[in-house]
């Protein structure tokens, strides 16, 4: 056997014990505490604010001022810790990414070594010089890799040491007092003043934010989390930090008051319910990492717990939309409230996984639910007013404006080459998305799933983006846009059926759905599976799905034909099982559906 000196395989890399996710959670907790502390500080300063108008000596003796100043010391210490935590998290994220690269190199090198070892085992003496030369090159490569690993480990140690030192600089009361008096301490009014009227322009917001120091950003985030968390143009990571702080502060404060036996107001109860629902999602996904970047997966990009008559507004992303190559925003339809988000999250999770598996680039998929989507399930008398919005496009039009602003913000905070941006609406959310597109939302693709209607008669009139339509033949909601008050084929209460051939959209293949009457409503909620999910996935990563023919007059069943035909096809078994009550109910449903408006609440199914 030939004799060749081979280098030893490179051992596994040291583990990164301090992980970015751990530091992120620490930062979130510190910011949440700071938000409540700063609320108290704002009150205390405001209550004694007159004192700073020229009688400082008098004010200094004022108890409120003393309290405020003492609290400010704690704030300054926490602010310093938040900044240090933010810096540490960024360094660890880079080190984590570098470790992935180094480990890839290590695996490649060891594989090459294994291959060479196998060749040496079967080689002749004449082949030794050549094989030894290869071994020597691998040896050099291993030496460089090991040096890089040592360098990486040193940088890990440095990052930890710097963070520990930063905390140690503010870990006594005197340290905190020095931090509070530091003339270089970020001052929020001055920072906000630099934005000025630009607050209404996402591009100006993004430019302003880029110029702020880390300390200034963190100060504004904790001072005004509700503004920064919902301001178009602020990067998703920072919106996430602000919104998580706001959610945490809400849960902490309102939970404390409930724990003390205090009766909350109706608005406060809604806020706590919404905050708790969002907090639960954040906790459930705390350790989820982006499979491509290794960074934390979920970004909370909108949190407005008091909006929409207490339903709340929320938007989030799986992935970082500012860095992703493909970004998709999903707008759910009816029954979309902050307190019940599991189904919606399940839909975007399925799409994110499928798009990540199918494409090469980074993918971010989110949902936007910051409009007054109709609520129709288990309606209480107080919610009956929502019914009106189910059958009119009013809320969709208003929501469309806000949605367009949100999408403008995503474009403004995008980094690198502009992302491929898709807007996906389902049910009433499809109508809302259509309005956003019609209002000039900066999207590349519009996907309408189970749409009950769009505001224009053609895709070209709607938007310059590509319009894709997924409408199951047996989804009754998609037929609402074809049989309006004016007669067959004319727009319904929410506009034109985009699946019509004359509309000019790209209708892609979806499962037609069951033709049993009892399954019709389920057909409306089946767009995130099978062929439909495949089609949407393809659109999200920039591929064109297989097209199918649009609806032609006389070539499809109208709404009443579908309901009656599927009832007959079901052989009456469903009705038989449920007795006369069901017969009466179905008769009423068919009647209402045929009449259009009042039937819509029955036709809609939870969009989650």
């Amino acid at each position: 056997m030939a004799s060749v000196t081979l280098p030893a395989p490179v051992a596994p890399l040291p583990v990164l014990i301090s992980r970015p996710v751990g530091v992120l959670q620490l930062g979130n907790d510190l910011r949440a505490a700071l938000v409540n502390g700063k609320d108290v500080q704002a009150w205390a300063e405001g209550s004694s604010g007159d004192a700073f108008g020229g009688q400082a000596a008098d004010a200094s003796r004022h108890a409120l001022t003393r309290f405020s100043r003492r609290l400010d010391v704690t704030e300054a210490a926490l602010e310093s810790a938040v900044v240090a935590t933010s810096r540490f998290e960024d360094r660890l994220a880079r080190l984590s990414s570098q470790r992935l690269t180094l480990d890839g190199d290590r695996v490649g090198l060891n594989t090459a070594l294994d291959d060479l070892r196998a060749e040496v085992a079967g080689a002749s003496d004449a082949e030794v010089p050549l094989l030894q030369a290869r071994a020597d090159r691998l040896q050099q490569r291993a030496a460089r890799l090991l040096a890089d690993v040592v360098d990486w480990a040193t940088r890990v140690a440095d990052a930890e040491a710097d963070f520990v030192a930063a905390l140690a600089r503010v870990d006594t009361f005197d340290d905190g007092r020095r931090a509070a008096r530091d003339p270089g301490r970020a001052e929020v009014d001055g920072v906000l003043g630099r934005l000025g009227a630009g607050v209404a322009d996402p591009a100006a917001v993004a430019a302003w934010w880029r110029l702020l120091s880390r300390a200034e950003r963190q100060t504004v985030i904790t001072e005004h989390p509700a503004i920064i968390g919902n301001l178009p143009g602020i990067p998703a990571r920072d919106r996430d930090a602000a919104n998580r702080a706001d959610v945490g502060a809400d849960v902490d404060e309102l939970g404390t008051r409930v724990g003390q036996g205090e009766q909350l107001t109706s608005t406060e109860r809604d806020r706590l319910a919404n905050a708790s629902a969002v907090s639960e999602i954040l906790d459930d996904h705390r350790d989820d990492l982006d499979p491509r970047t290794g960074e934390h997966l979920l970004h909370l990009t909108q949190y407005q717990p008091d909006e929409h008559s207490g339903d709340g507004g929320v938007a989030l992303f799986l992935g970082d939309p500012d860095r992703a190559d493909h970004v998709a925003v999903y707008v759910p339809g009816t029954l979309s409230e902050t307190g019940t988000l599991d189904g919606t999250l399940g839909n975007i999770d399925a799409l994110h996984r499928a798009a990540t598996d199918a494409g090469d680039g980074l993918v971010a998929v989110g949902f936007w639910l910051d409009y007054d989507a109709p609520s129709i399930d288990g309606l209480s008398p107080g919610e009956l007013a929502d019914l009106g919005s189910v059958v009119t496009p009013t809320e969709a039009a208003a929501g469309g404006d806000d949605l367009a602003d949100y999408l403008d913000g995503l474009r403004a905070s995008d980094t690198g080459p502009p992302a491929h941006l898709s807007l996906i609406g389902h049910s009433y959310g499809a109508t809302t998305s259509s309005y956003a597109a019609h209002g000039g939302a900066p999207i590349d693709d519009l996907v309408l799933l189970g749409s009950p209607g769009a505001p224009t008669s053609t895709a070209d009139a709607l938007t310059s983006a590509e319009v894709h339509v997924g409408s199951a033949d047996h989804d009754p909601v998609t037929l609402l846009g074809t049989d309006g008050p004016g007669g067959p084929g004319l727009p319904g209460p929410l506009g034109q059926d985009p699946a019509q051939d004359s509309f000019g959209g790209r209708r892609f293949e979806v499962d037609p759905g069951s033709y049993r009457v009892q399954d019709l409503l389920a057909n409306h909620s089946s767009y995130f599976a099978d062929e439909s999910l495949d089609g949407v996935t393809g659109i999200v990563i920039g591929n064109d799905p297989d097209e199918v023919a649009g609806r032609q007059p006389g070539g499809y069943q109208t709404l009443d034909q579908l309901v009656l035909g599927s009832t007959v096809a079901s052989g009456g078994e469903w009705l038989w099982e449920r007795g006369n009550d069901a017969v009466d109910g179905l008769t009423g449903t068919v009647h209402d559906l045929a009449e259009g408006l009042l039937g819509l609440p029955y036709a809609f199914h939870p969009g989650r």
Partner: protein, 108 residues
């Protein structure tokens, strides 16, 4: 002997409520800090975090007690706003919004 502080009763109730709110918010902040269990961090980092939190959790607890005491002092006022001595009246006055900093203290 009793002492009267000449401010509208509503001001005192508002002051009590404001200090109560401050107490609740600071309690919430303290609870958040107390609940931090460093995870996903190395031993040296966790130790530093814990040392930091110990100091500022304790400080917030002090502020919570102060806020509670101030709120309690207003709550303890008699319906006719009688206070036992001038020193206490001055202390409460100092906790009122600045507009009431010169409220008259009268011995009755």
């Amino acid at each position: 002997m009793a002492v009267t502080l000449d401010v509208p009763p509503g001001v005192l109730r508002l002051a009590e409520r404001a200090w109560d709110d401050a107490h609740d918010k600071l309690s919430a902040a303290g609870t958040r800090l107390d609940g931090i269990v460093p995870a996903g961090l190395s031993t040296v980092v966790s130790t530093a975090v814990t040392a930091f939190l110990d100091v500022w959790s304790a400080e917030i607890a002090t502020l919570v007690r102060q806020a509670s005491a101030h709120a309690g002092a207003f709550a303890d006022l008699d319906a006719d706003l009688e206070i036992t001595d001038a020193v206490e009246a001055a202390r409460l006055r100092s906790l009122l919004p600045y507009a009431h900093r010169d409220a008259t203290i009268r011995v009755v």
